[in-house]
């Protein structure tokens, strides 16, 4: 086990997070006011279709971009307010991003051990207590493959290596972008198990971007991003719609299918519950369907 004191998990709070980028002469809003809170030590999955903005959200949490508007807090840090060196330190020690695609996380000519070394060097230099390379290797159970050339490793082993690199500085939060993509089931499960194990053992917060419903099903909390907004949330298998800070309520997909754009609905209080009552024909008093 680690001789270094585990770094406490870092919570995340975003407030009205907006990110706009320019593409082919037009402004595109990747995120349009995201409010999300992740508690320290929590494991959260970010779900959503391609282009929904989940990877952008992850990059903002990693400090790769400055948000166009809104705030990002990781732990007690406002990422947008960090100086360059503070941001470097955050990225070196506290917030560890695991890029999509195993090879992108690995220096190609180093072994997994070498890559872990490479990743922890700067963290160790800036004065923080970081786990040793061997501890990291042991943590992910990669002792057998740690010293083999990357060219000899399978995709799953490479992904394990990428995870080792992400864990090298003993981060307070691990941001993993599609860590199980392009893996077979066994490899996928091993990666997921390792992530959850690390969470349990170190208390690090883990945010995972995934497409995979099986992966999502194993996560205690999922947040669905849709069209740059929080589209819903799942907890222990239960799906929820989330009311945003400005009062919007994105409808789940299966609800939207019954309520085409332009549909007029009435919200009626029913005890502790709210009822969503569409108007028939789009006119007041014309419908009977009630959604609860």
């Amino acid at each position: 086990m680690s001789t270094a004191t585990p770094r406490p998990g870092l919570g995340v709070t975003t407030v009205g997070l907006v990110h706009i980028y320019r593409s082919e002469g037009s402004d595109v809003a990747a995120l349009s006011g995201v409010d999300i809170t992740v508690r320290p030590g929590e494991v959260v999955g970010l779900l959503g279709p391609s282009g929904s903005g989940k990877s952008t959200l992850l990059a903002l949490l990693a400090g790769l971009f400055q948000p166009s508007a809104g705030k990002v807090f990781v732990g007690d840090r406002d990422l947008a307010a960090l100086t360059e060196s503070e941001l470097d330190r955050y990225q070196a020690v506290d917030g560890s991003l695991m890029l999509q695609g195993a090879r992108r996380n690995l220096v190609p000519y180093l072994t997994i051990r070498g890559n872990v070394d490479f990743a922890r060097q700067h963290a160790a230099k800036v004065g923080d207590e970081v786990p040793t390379t061997q501890e990291v290797v042991d943590l992910i159970g990669a002792g057998e493959i740690a010293d083999r050339p990357l060219s000899e490793l399978s995709q799953g082993q490479l992904q394990l290596g990428a995870l080792a690199v992400a864990l090298a500085p003993g981060p307070g939060i691990v941001l993993a972008d599609e860590p199980t993509s392009a893996l077979d089931h066994a490899a996928r499960d091993r990666i997921l198990d390792t992530l959850l194990d690390v969470n349990r053992r170190s208390g690090a917060t883990i945010v995972i971007v995934t497409h995979d419903p099986d992966v999502a099903a194993r996560l205690p909390r999922t947040v669905t991003i849709r069209d740059g907004r929080i589209g819903g949330e799942g907890r222990l298998g239960q799906e929820y719609a989330v009311v945003t800070a400005d009062g919007f309520l994105p409808l789940p997909l299966h609800v939207r299918e019954g309520l085409p754009p332009g549909t007029l609905v009435r919200l009626e209080r029913d005890g502790e519950n709210w009822r969503l009552v569409p108007e028939a024909g789009g006119l007041p008093g014309g419908g009977d369907d009630v959604i609860q």
Binding site: A59, A62, L64, F65, E84, S85, D88, R89, Y90, Q91, A92, V93, L97, L99, R104, N105, L106, V107, P108, Y109, L110, G114, F118, A119, Q121, H122, A123, V126, A168, P169
Partner: protein, 1028 residues
């Protein structure tokens, strides 16, 4: 190390390029140094020993006691020169004439230390006692002096030319010598005079003959020779003359020569007592000139290569940094700042750069060794001047700067940019700010070079800078052009071509490849042009200055004999023609050159000139045929009424005068033949006389001859019925005789068959009318320096015997092949009318149309058989070789190295560019394979994507090279010294340049095709999966 191992090809490429950059920088000082040494060694070797060494000579026409004897002459040598000079060869000589002194042949007695070892005695023994001499075989034959015979001589020199004061000696001939040629003689030729009956050859004798007392004139006891010439010849020691000390030796020698040596020791009466001659200052000047030229040409060439290499290295380094964007992103992700990223990237590129420096140094040393043994053979000594290390250090600093600059962009890029895979986009047509600045600066530098406003480093770089400017602009234009062509091809349904062109238009490699190929091909073309122009100029100058494919120097001064012999060998004048060159007596005067126009125009070499355009027809001979006679006696009828005298003194009034003929005898000598005295108080009758014309004569004048000192006379002489050996001779009419103004004499017609001469001789002994077959003024084709400003003005020329002959310019000629700058070309036959043999400075040569050794040997044999010895054979190739062994030529030979390295560099860059883009290329090609294209189609597309770009950029490089070459050429010295007659031809050598450019383009196209096909073969479908 693991990073280097992982990208070992890239590391190897960087190492190779770094070593090439270092080699290019370090090679220049090594080559210049080797060239310096070669220039000095070659110049010393090419200078005759007599000129390279020091000759000290001491004699006095005023007082023999102020002569410095050879034992003390060595003391005069400056200390700085002594190590470079070998032990001297002392000598003493005395001018003598056979007694009686009047008109006997003259010669000189010579002693040189150890002379017997440098002659071959063909008869008798080498003299070893006072009064003994050895003579030449010619002297023995011509003057009938056998071994054992004695010779009475008296001293005959500037101060001793009267019999009453001349020391005299009786000399005994002990042997017949033959001079063994060698440096020992310091250029002296002992023989030659006797063969031409011009006097004695040098007579060799022991020192005692010249230092012991000899007989005083008229039995007045003993005296010493009055004007001995004491000499000391100090040969130069070539091994002691180096590039380091030649300038000092030259300067010391110059001061020494310039100083009036005699004044300091003996006073003004002996200021000419000691003279020192040496060509050391000239050698030093020539060496300095050659070195100066090398310092222009070598940097000029190496600068172009260095610029290309630095550009390619920078490109590779930038490519290497771009390849590592992912690693840079990881480093940034793990908290390293831009400094950390920079050091991460540099850790991979700096080691091969640093390692490349010693490799490059070694390569430069090896290359220099190769150049020393091939280009500069015989090899000058191997040296390592400190400037080589400085150059290597400079190269390292430049490369470090390039490396630091190459990672700047990646190190500063935001992580998000680094993580993004950069899509291949079509290049914009608009230049970036930096590019625009480079283009503007390059064009400004080139314009400044063309207008002559700039020389030196900027001027040297200007040709490549122009290519860089063209390349940068082309890098923007070519992708757009390819895209347009691709669109056109797509529109016409040419799918493969369209795909290839559109791919090429989007590749960043295209934007890099274009300027690299443009610059490289421009350098190759420039190098080829410089090489070809240099070689062509050396060839043409050698041809113009030699004159013909073969020139035979003839050991005869008899133009008629030479002319007759050559006409006998080749009556049509198609393969051999005589040429006589008569140098003027004073400097700055015109050299007269006699040729046979038709044959000369055919056989002589005329590089850069068109002989057909010359006014050959103007070199006409007089229309009047010569008046030739053969016989031993002449008789004629004469009528001389009473003559009027200008003096009333009866003693001065001559009682007789003589009709006279002026003839040119068979030997070419002009002689006056008196035809018998006629009383001046009235005469009518016949006279006869003997004439020396048994072998035939040519009558060139007819007139009167009066006794020496007679008063001027005026009269009329009527001659008729002139007979030679009783055969009548028609003197022609008065119009065939040209009158003379001073003395005044003219011919007029009288009775049929009679000629009347009216004369007023103003006291001169002879007055002649000149036969019209003898031209008064010879028409000549004149070079610009010899052409008088006023049309029709006459210029001074010479006959073979040295007598004057007026010339007039009948047309211009750019130069006379084999002649000097100031020359007048005349019809050789007009020089045969009179004075064709004699003691002038005429040099007789034969121009041959062939250089074939067997043909030359045949002609030589036939000439020798006809009594015309051949003393030398010259070919343009001999002179060309001399030109080729000069600093200027050696510098130009470097173009082969530069051109080759530029091509190699470009090929490396091509491979690197294609290799660095192989991932995206192979992915694209895998996509094409998915779309159903065959491997062959993909291979074709891969080639079409690259080869046209190479050819297009190469074409631009060719144009840039051809355009910049004329601007660069005037900066390049082609010869150590300019030609007096042949102006440098700096026109672009299109043939060789185009040929070399075509070869370079083929090589580059093949390299591009092979590299493209290699990438295409790796377009497996798994590339697509990898991309996903």
């Amino acid at each position: 190390m693991s990073a280097l191992r992982y990208r070992w090809v890239q590391a190897l490429v960087v190492l190779v390029l770094a070593s090439l950059v270092t080699a290019a920088c370090a090679f220049a000082p090594l080559y210049v140094r080797a060239l310096d040494q070669a220039v000095v060694a070659t110049t010393v070797r090419a200078t005759p020993a007599a000129d390279a060494g020091v000759r000290i000579l001491s004699f006095s026409t005023a007082n023999m006691h102020v002569t410095t004897d050879y034992q003390h002459q060595r003391d005069l040598v400056p200390e700085a020169l002594k190590p470079a000079l070998a032990d001297g060869i002392p000598s003493i000589s005395v001018g003598v004439r056979r007694l009686p002194l009047a008109a006997e042949p003259e010669g000189s007695l010579l002693w040189r230390a150890g002379l017997c070892e440098h002659v071959r005695m063909t008869s008798g023994t080498c003299p070893n006692s006072a009064g003994e001499i050895a003579i030449s075989a010619d002297q023995a034959r011509v003057y009938d002096q056998a071994v054992g015979s004695t010779l009475e001589v008296g001293e005959w020199d500037a101060s001793v030319s009267r019999v009453e004061v001349s020391p005299q000696a009786t000399l005994t001939v002990t042997g017949i010598y033959e001079q063994v040629p060698g440096d020992y003689w310091f250029g002296a030729t002992l023989t030659g005079a006797a063969a031409g009956k011009l006097g004695f050859d040098t007579m060799l004798t022991p020192e005692a003959t010249l230092v012991n007392a000899v007989r005083a004139p008229a039995g007045g006891g003993e005296v010493y020779w009055a004007e001995p010439h004491q000499g000391l010849d100090l040969p130069l020691r070539p091994d002691q003359v180096t590039a380091d000390n030649i300038a000092r030796l030259g300067a010391v020698a110059k001061d020494w020569i310039a100083y009036p040596l005699g004044v300091s020791r003996y006073g003004s009466d002996a200021s000419d007592a000691v003279t020192v001659s040496t060509s050391l200052p000239a050698i030093a000047d020539a060496a300095a000139a050659s070195r100066g030229q090398a310092r222009v040409t070598v940097p000029l060439l190496m600068a172009q290569l260095g610029l290309l290499l630095c550009t390619v290295l920078w490109l590779v380094l930038v490519g290497a940094a771009d390849q590592r964007r992912g690693e840079a992103a990881l480093a940034r992700l793990r908290g390293r700042g831009s400094g950390g990223v920079r050091s991460l990237l540099l850790r991979e590129t700096l080691p091969p750069i640093v390692a490349g420096v010693p490799v490059g140094l070694a390569a430069a040393v090896g290359l220099a060794a190769g150049a020393r043994h091939t280009l500069l053979a015989p090899a000058p000594p191997a040296e390592f001047p400190p400037t080589t290390a400085y150059a290597a250090l400079l190269a390292l600093l430049v490369m470090l700067a390039l490396a630091a600059s190459s990672v700047r962009r990646v190190a500063r890029a935001p992580i998000a940019d680094l993580l993004r895979s950069v899509p291949a986009g079509r290049a914009k047509m608009v230049l970036g700010l930096l590019e625009a600045m480079v283009v503007a600066a390059a064009i400004a530098a080139f314009v400044a070079l063309v207008t002559g406003a700039v020389r030196g480093p900027v001027g040297q770089l200007a040709p490549t800078l122009l290519a860089v400017a063209v390349g940068i602009v082309a890098a923007r234009v070519v992708p757009a052009l390819l895209a347009w062509l691709g669109g056109m091809a797509l529109h016409r349904g040419w799918a493969r071509a369209a795909t290839a062109l559109l791919h090429a238009s989007r590749r960043s490699a295209t934007r890099w490849l274009t300027p690299i190929v443009t610059v490289a091909v421009a350098i190759v073309v420039l190098s080829a042009d410089l090489f070809a122009v240099g070689a062509l100029n050396r060839q043409h100058r050698a041809a113009a200055e030699t004159g013909a494919p073969t020139v035979l120097d003839l050991g005869s001064r008899d133009l008629k004999a030479v002319s007759d012999a050559i006409r006998a060998i080749d009556p049509t004048g198609t393969s051999i023609t005589p040429v006589v060159t008569i140098d003027p007596i004073g400097s700055g005067n015109t050299t007269t050159i006699g040729v046979l126009p038709d044959a000369f125009s055919r056989i002589a070499l005329w590089p850069g000139a068109d002989p057909k355009s010359l006014a050959w027809q103007a070199l006409r001979l007089p229309e009047q045929p010569p008046l030739e006679i053969t016989g031993t006696s002449v008789s004629y009828a004469a009528k001389l009424p009473t003559v009027d005298f200008t003096s009333l003194d009866p003693d001065a009034q001559s009682t007789a005068l003589s009709p006279a003929l002026q003839i040119v005898d068979a030997a070419g000598a002009t002689t006056t033949v008196p035809l018998g005295a006629i009383p001046t108080d009235g005469f009518q009758g016949r006279r006869s006389a003997t004439i020396p014309c048994a072998q035939g004569c040519r009558v060139i004048g007819l007139g009167v001859s009066a006794p020496l000192g007679a008063a001027g006379m005026r009269g009329t002489l009527i001659l008729s019925d002139l007979r030679i050996d009783d055969h009548p001779l028609d003197l022609g009419t008065a119009s065939t005789w040209r009158p003379s103004i001073s003395p005044e004499i003219a011919a007029s017609d009288g009775a049929p068959g009679a000629l009347t001469l009216t004369f007023a001789n103003s006291g001169q002994t002879e007055a002649f009318v000149v036969h019209e077959s003898v031209p008064q003024v010879l028409p000549a084709l004149t070079t610009a320096p010899a052409t008088p400003a006023a049309a029709g003005a006459t210029i001074g020329g010479y006959l073979v015997d040295g007598s004057d002959q007026l010339l007039t310019s009948a047309g211009p000629i750019a130069y006379v092949p084999g002649g000097p700058a100031r020359a007048a070309l005349v019809n050789l036959d007009s020089l045969l009318i009179r004075g064709w043999s004699g003691r002038g400075s005429a040099k007789l040569t034969a121009y041959l149309s062939s250089s074939d050794p067997s043909a030359v040997a045949s002609v030589r044999e036939r000439l020798t058989g006809l009594g015309i010895p051949v003393t030398g054979v010259r070919h343009p190739a001999d002179l060309e070789r001399t030109f080729a062994r000069s600093g200027a030529a050696w510098s130009l030979k470097l173009t082969t190295v530069v051109g080759g390295l530029a091509l190699l560099t470009c090929a490396v860059a091509l491979i690197v560019l294609i290799a660095t883009s192989w991932r995206s290329r192979s992915r694209d090609y895998a996509g094409l394979r998915m779309a159903g294209l065959t491997r062959r189609d993909v291979g074709l597309i891969a080639m079409l994507e690259t080869v046209p770009v190479v050819l297009l950029a190469g074409g631009l490089g060719l144009a840039a090279g051809l355009w910049s070459a004329p601007a660069a050429l005037p900066m390049v010295p082609l010869f150590t010294t300019p030609s007096a007659i042949f102006p440098p031809d700096l026109r672009t050598a299109y043939g060789p340049s185009l040929l070399v450019a075509a070869a370079a383009l083929v090589i580059l196209a093949v390299v591009a095709a092979l590299a493209s096909r290699y990438v295409a073969r790796r377009s497996r479908l798994d590339r697509l999966r990898e991309a996903a």
